[in-house]
Amino acid sequence: MEKTWNNKAWFFVLPVLLLVAFSAVIPLMTVVNYSVQDSFGNNQFFWYGADWFREVLTSERFHDALIRNLLFSAIILAIEVPLGILVALAMPKKGIWVPVCLVLMALPLLIPWNVVGTIWQVFARTDIGLLGYSVDALGIDYNYVRNTFDAWVTVVVMDVWHWTSLVVLLCYAGLVSIPDAYYQAAKIDGASRWAVFRYIQLPKMGRVLLIAVLLRFMDSFMIYTEPFVVTGGGPGNSTTFLSIDLVKLAIGQFNIGEAAAMSLIYFLIILALSWIFYTVMTNAGNDKPMTGGGE
């Protein structure tokens, strides 16, 4: 759509600007402030330069948390994306079952995040939880509180349970937007099921899928509540992801300078990722008109 150049539009944006500045810029400046100072307590601060940043960037603890978080994001993407595509492909395209599927699948997305944690904390317990009990009954030694591998499996399965539906819903919205003529053409050409997927469905889903991958990556990169409720970051530090580590540092140990420096580094990573996301969203928006999904 052709847009007119009009700087008076700034007046429309002003309320948003003020509100978000109040809740984003001021707190962020506090963080910047702390990140370059140190304190002996009593609210007396002195200039500390870039030392906190150096400390964070060279600290093993930060590296470990970062690697753990990247590994976690990679694992859940590797599971959720193929699974999401598979479920979206198998979903009915029309009929009374469509809304039923949509509503049931969206259910986990609307549960408060710590309730998600609670659900899985209970569900995976070997004494009172169905999953833990069944796994235990199969003769597998399973304990997500003490065993690192079990803790990871629990957290990953929980995230798959919580967020795969997002991938499903996005892919499904992409799939239903494919005109019937494409499939008819493929039928006439005698294309195999795989060819239909590879040359019609996948390219048509491409952009939606990219959005899904980016969203899932971003959100898993800042996951906090769910693993915190289930494992508390343990056993040891084995499920301490970046956000959990940051909160431990800032509130647990009250090491504000280092926490602030870590926050900024964390935020810069997010910023870079957001830029990719933004480019995808706005560029892809230009080539075709958007309509509500699932209609």
Partner: protein, 297 residues
Amino acid sequence: MSDHATTAHPSLPGAAHSETAIAARSRMKTGHFRWKALIPIVYILFLLLPIYWLVNMSFKTNQEILGALTLWPTNPTLHNYRVIFTDPSWYMGYVNSIIYVVMNMVISVAVALPAAYAFSRYRFLGDKHLFFWLLTNRMAPPAVFALPFFQLYSAFGLIDTHIAVALAHCLFNVPLAVWILEGFMSGVPKEIDETAYIDGYSFPKFFFKIFTPLIASGIGVAAFFCFMFSWVELLIARTLTVTDAKPISAIMTRTVSASGMDWGVLAAAGALTIIPGAIVIWFVRNYIAKGFALGRV
């Protein structure tokens, strides 16, 4: 599945047979249907099982929960729900959550409406930078903001008030509302604006009489997503509240850490937090994907 598709057509390729090929393929499709329907069914069962387990637990007594594993409550009891609905420190949690969530929803949509209109209709100095900056706030990790928020709202004496949480949640909900509304508004042709002006409508009259009804579904979706993201968030809400405005989700975590865990009440409290989402979801079922993708699907 794919081997079926390739082996089932010895007659292909051949343009002369295309009619029969289509018929054969559609017949095959109906044959395949049952098999294919298994995937969503199994997936939905996987989603519902943990939720069922929570609901199941909420109708049991603690002795039954800890005593033996039963697939359904043998002596269904409403005791756990009664505890929640008779104790103000429990049910006020729901009231608090709903108060700040609704406040946040109203603020977010109200300020996002004009901004989204500006982004969808005009180009202005720094528009793209501003739009990107809004997105970075949607993507900001709440953990980064928890401590500075606490200090900011302490300075204003707003700790433990509903408005503090509502304003803090604007950090990610205002950008979300702007993006979603912009997506919907861009779907309305600009000719409508121009025709209205030619017909002598003033801007406010045009905006409320003509434009708002056209994007009514968009406003609903934006409001729903603000509601939802404010409802599911815990870290910031917990940091900014002490007792008077404490959300239900934070009250639940306190029970988890208490000695002598009351599993039944915990399960009932959890089950009750699912209800608001489950109710509103029906109304936005066709827009869920669009909302999660910030209005861009």
